[in-house]
Subunit: 195 residues, 2 copies
C-alpha cells in the first residue's frame, strides 16, 4: 500500500532524525526553534513542524509559490533562513544534512507570524514520478486521493504513538485545486487553533 509505505518511510527516514533529541549534540526540534528565536529575535507562536500535503501531491521548491500574486490584501508566506542543521552519518553517507526552513506569514494589518513549514516531500517525489511517463507505467492504477488519505492517516498514527515525536509535527491538508483558498490563511487558521 503506497500511502502507508510512504508514511512509514517519511516517519522513520526523516521525522525520527529531525524531531527528537539525539541524546548528544542535537537537542531536538523544539530546542532548534528556540535557538532560532533567540538568534533572530522572533517568536514562533506554535513550535511545530507544519507539513503541507496538497491534493495534487505537488509541492513547489518554495512554498511562497502558493501566494496569490497581486493580492496585497491577503496574508502571504515569505521564506526566511534555515534552522540549525542536523548532521549525521546515515547509510554510508557521512555528515548527511537535514535542514528545515523558517517562514514568515506577512499580514496586511497585523504583525508577521513565524513558523517552520515545508511540503510533504514523498508526495512531491511521487508527483514527479507520475509526471515522468517512463516511471508512471510502473505505478499504473494509483489513486491520488487514496494515497493522500492513507499517508495522512498512517503518519498521524505514527506520530501520536511516538513519545519523542508526538506534538511536534502538524499535518496540514491543502486543496491546491481550489482557487479560493490561500495557503497562508490556512496555516494562520491552524496556528490560531493550536495557540
Amino acid at each position: 500500500n503506497y500511502g502507508v509505505g510512504m508514511a512509514c518511510s517519511y516517519f522513520e527516514g526523516y521525522l525520527v532524525h529531525v524531531l527528537p533529541s539525539d541524546g548528544a549534540k542535537f537537542f531536538g526540534f523544539l530546542e532548534n526553534i528556540k535557538i532560532y528565536e533567540n538568534r533572530e529575535g522572533v517568536v514562533f507562536p506554535v513550535k511545530k513542524l507544519f507539513v503541507v500535503v496538497t491534493k495534487s501531491l505537488f509541492s513547489p521548491p518554495a512554498l511562497v509559490e502558493f501566494n496569490k500574486t497581486g493580492r496585497d490584501d491577503l496574508p502571504k508566506l515569505e521564506a526566511c533562513s534555515s534552522l540549525t542543521e542536523i548532521e549525521k552519518d546515515v547509510a554510508g553517507v557521512k555528515n548527511r544534512i537535514y535542514r528545515s526552513t523558517a517562514y514568515k506569514i506577512y499580514r496586511p494589518s497585523a504583525p508577521p507570524v513565524c513558523l517552520c513549514t515545508e511540503g510533504g516531500t514523498p508526495l512531491n517525489t511521487l508527483y514527479r514520478v507520475l509526471k515522468n511517463s517512463e516511471l508512471s507505467e510502473e505505478l499504473a492504477g494509483i489513486n491520488r486521493e487514496e494515497i493522500v488519505h492513507d499517508f495522512l492517516t498512517t503518519l498521524r498514527k505514527l506520530i501520536t504513538k511516538s513519545p519523542e515525536c508526538r506534538g511536534k509535527c502538524e499535518l496540514v491538508y491543502f486543496d491546491d485545486s481550489n482557487r479560493d483558498l490561500n495557503l497562508a490563511d490556512v496555516l494562520l487558521d491552524r496556528i490560531r487553533e493550536l495557540e
Copy 2:
C-alpha cells in the same frame, strides 16, 4: 508494490538531483568527481556512484563497518571527505543539501583505490521500519528478498532509460549474511570489471 515504489522514489527524489548537470551551477556527478580528484590529488578509476544494497536491507552509518575486524590481510574501506555539495530548493525546504562520500579501499599490497559509494538508503529506512514494532504491523507480509529484487530490477531499468543518469550509477548487491564475503573485495571486483 513496495520495491518498485522505493526505486521510483529513489530515482526521482535523489538520483535525478545528484547525477545529471542542472544546466546552471551544478555540472553533474562526473564533473563533481573530477573536481574532487583535482582538489585531493587522487584518481577514481571508475567515476560512478556505487550503491550498495544488502540482503538484510541494513546499511550501517558508515560503510567501514562492513570491514573484517582484525584482518589486515584483507582490503578495507575508509571514508574520506565529501564531494562538493549540491544545494537546491526542494518541496518548500530552501537550500536542501545533497552530499556524497568519497571512500578509499586500502589494499595490503597495492595502492589504494578511490570510489564514491553509499548504502541503499530507502532499504535501510525500510529495515528501521521493520525493526520498529509499532510500524511493522502496517507493513505485515513483506518479503525482503522480493523487495530487494524489485528495487534493483526497477532501478536498473530507470537508470538505463534515462540519458542523463545512464552509466553514472552502479548497483552492487552484497550478501551481508555471508561471513566469507568482504564488501571491499566485492567493490574491487566490480571496479575491475568496469575499468
